[in-house]
Symmetry: C2
Subunit: 426 residues, 2 copies
Amino acid sequence: MTQAFSTLRINSDRMLDSFSQLASIGATADGGVNRPTFSEAHLTARQWFKEEIEKSGLEFHTDGAGNHSAILKSSAGRVAPHGFGGAYRDQTFLLGSHLDSVPNGGRFDGALGVMAALEVLKTVKENGIRLKVNLEAIDFTDEEGTLVGLLGSAALAGHLHQKDLASPRGGRENLVAGMKRAGLSEESMLSAARPKDSLAGYLELHIEQGKRLERAGMNIGIVSAIVGIWSYRLSFIGRADHAGSTTIDDRLDASLGASAFTLAARELVMRDFPNCVVNVGKMDFAPGAFNIVPARVDLALEFRSPDEEEFNRLDIALLELAQKEARRFGLELEIEFLGKHSPSIMHEKVCNAFAASCDDLGLMHVSLSSGAGHDGQSLADLCPVGMIFVPSVDGASHSPREFTKWEDCVNGANVLLQTVLRLAAG
Amino acid sequence: MTQAFSTLRINSDRMLDSFSQLASIGATADGGVNRPTFSEAHLTARQWFKEEIEKSGLEFHTDGAGNHSAILKSSAGRVAPHGFGGAYRDQTFLLGSHLDSVPNGGRFDGALGVMAALEVLKTVKENGIRLKVNLEAIDFTDEEGTLVGLLGSAALAGHLHQKDLASPRGGRENLVAGMKRAGLSEESMLSAARPKDSLAGYLELHIEQGKRLERAGMNIGIVSAIVGIWSYRLSFIGRADHAGSTTIDDRLDASLGASAFTLAARELVMRDFPNCVVNVGKMDFAPGAFNIVPARVDLALEFRSPDEEEFNRLDIALLELAQKEARRFGLELEIEFLGKHSPSIMHEKVCNAFAASCDDLGLMHVSLSSGAGHDGQSLADLCPVGMIFVPSVDGASHSPREFTKWEDCVNGANVLLQTVLRLAAG
């Protein structure tokens, strides 16, 4: 890369200003944000992003899945010297992340990636750099799964099908109401796929959401693979009885199966699946009164692995465990499979370009897998995909405690910029 | 008792007709009823009861706690030969139970007692029997605790205080909204107490809600004592973290403390407190998402004992257990005491009168304690209180499976009638 390009940096103050404005939308008293998909705060953030794009002179684009983008057309200007293989002028290089949050989440998850992508486009534009491909900074709809999970990226990649919308993990009613609030429909969602050869690549900057970079004293994590996620609703079913007049022996108490499974699933994963994680994020008790023995507990189960074969083994082991704990307390077990995302391997060429950019910028980097799911999974079979992480203080995420030093955010955005120039420039 | 009185029986067909009408209000598809306090269905049932009273020519009465009653004034007619000690004409003998149900409960719990009480008044009235005291068939407000628990009887007995309404177990918001729907207020609730010397006694017929009578082949259970109930909200508090990127070791997962406590509390009670029962009726997870480690689980805890001293030991043991399980998983524990009802001893004279009535009617009876709480507890320090149980098929209660053979319901109502005549007549 010529000196002119390799010394290019994003505008830290400008990015901070945008980031701070965004963080104020849906801000919670404890310093986090609450922007579940298509909530009032999320819709406000989407509208703010649209206006921010228009103010910056970039082209605004939206699609049937509600993805919002800033586009910088491949056009006049200085020509960057290095290209990305067979990319041609009508292809688009995507940079992005998401503006939705988990309930009472943090300010950085998703938001940093979208703000950095937009800042990269602004920097490329104001420096008049001519790229061989269009650049697009995209906010993917519903990454977090308030409704479906990776919804916007799956729709764009052509991986979204009617069945995904028929029984979504957030409930059909919430999906229908949410689409309506956002002016979208099932039909528009299912028609948002882009032609495969229109995509030149996808890069994402994200916070690590773990402690590995901080512990290792590294600046940048280059993601080698994104773990897959499987989710289930397990229902332990007993019998409602009077909690005073029914002896403990005579009960079929659904809480016992759900509780025993929760404890045993953790033990199982720690002992036999050290590369995996499991979470029981919620239990719903029915009827749910002080004086009634619980007749039914619905348990929200999610587990993750970087390896497909390991997934199959873990799946069998967890469901056998649930059956065993249900039987132990005389309960029935209902198993509802809610969906899966397979593990995704990041593109080697992109990983190498990230590493070269880090080296040029004097940043310490390390290769690691992502325990969190990300939109790149949806795109990995369509185009070269890569991700970088910046350190999360104390590893906190999906929490108001989520924090990344601004210096690290700027480092990440500069690696993103330099890697785009390496891969996408003329 | 003279032959004329001892051969008196309630009208089984008339009681069945009323019982069936009532069971249709708030009826659920599975044969139960759903009439939580001041729900639409409960308000409809209350209105139906008022009209049923007025149709029967009895006097309708209500008070500031929303208790609804039929009153048969002590007046002209034949004089029943046996009296109840010092009772005088201005005193009132209460018979009753409650029309509210737990969520998705059964048709018999409470409803049978109110219908039997009303039928006793109709029978006494149509036979022109003159009693020394007024007879009153009462529907007590919120026995089940949707809002407060034993609300109407506590108010009538003068045991309801502002603090009971400030932080009720069903939530302050629900209480305020419920009182408004029923046309009641905090002020009216707190001014519903009756003068102590106005009450001559309280009798209640109820289903057993357990299997003891059925197993022993008995017709009638004469209650010796009603267990006390203590309730708490226990909050296990950890930390919200990303469920993919946070290793299991790094988590402070509130679900683990709540699950471990639920299992261990059952073990503790079965092992060390065989006369007691414990129930975890509900857990509320926060934030409550698939992909977030639970930061907080609020657990609804209730436990019961027929003995005050044992209560104190169980209370200490359960709270120590909760602390231990919280510590084991690095969690904080918040303990909110929600209220207690002490065990109540039933009046010996009333128990003897029940037994004599059973003997006269040729019914097999047995003395037992009540594992369920009942409105009689509120009144036991004001006037002689007694309760009888009729068998519950398979012991089911607080469930649509709740069932008692109509023959047993009629037996219970006749024991109630004969005992009233024994205690309250002439």
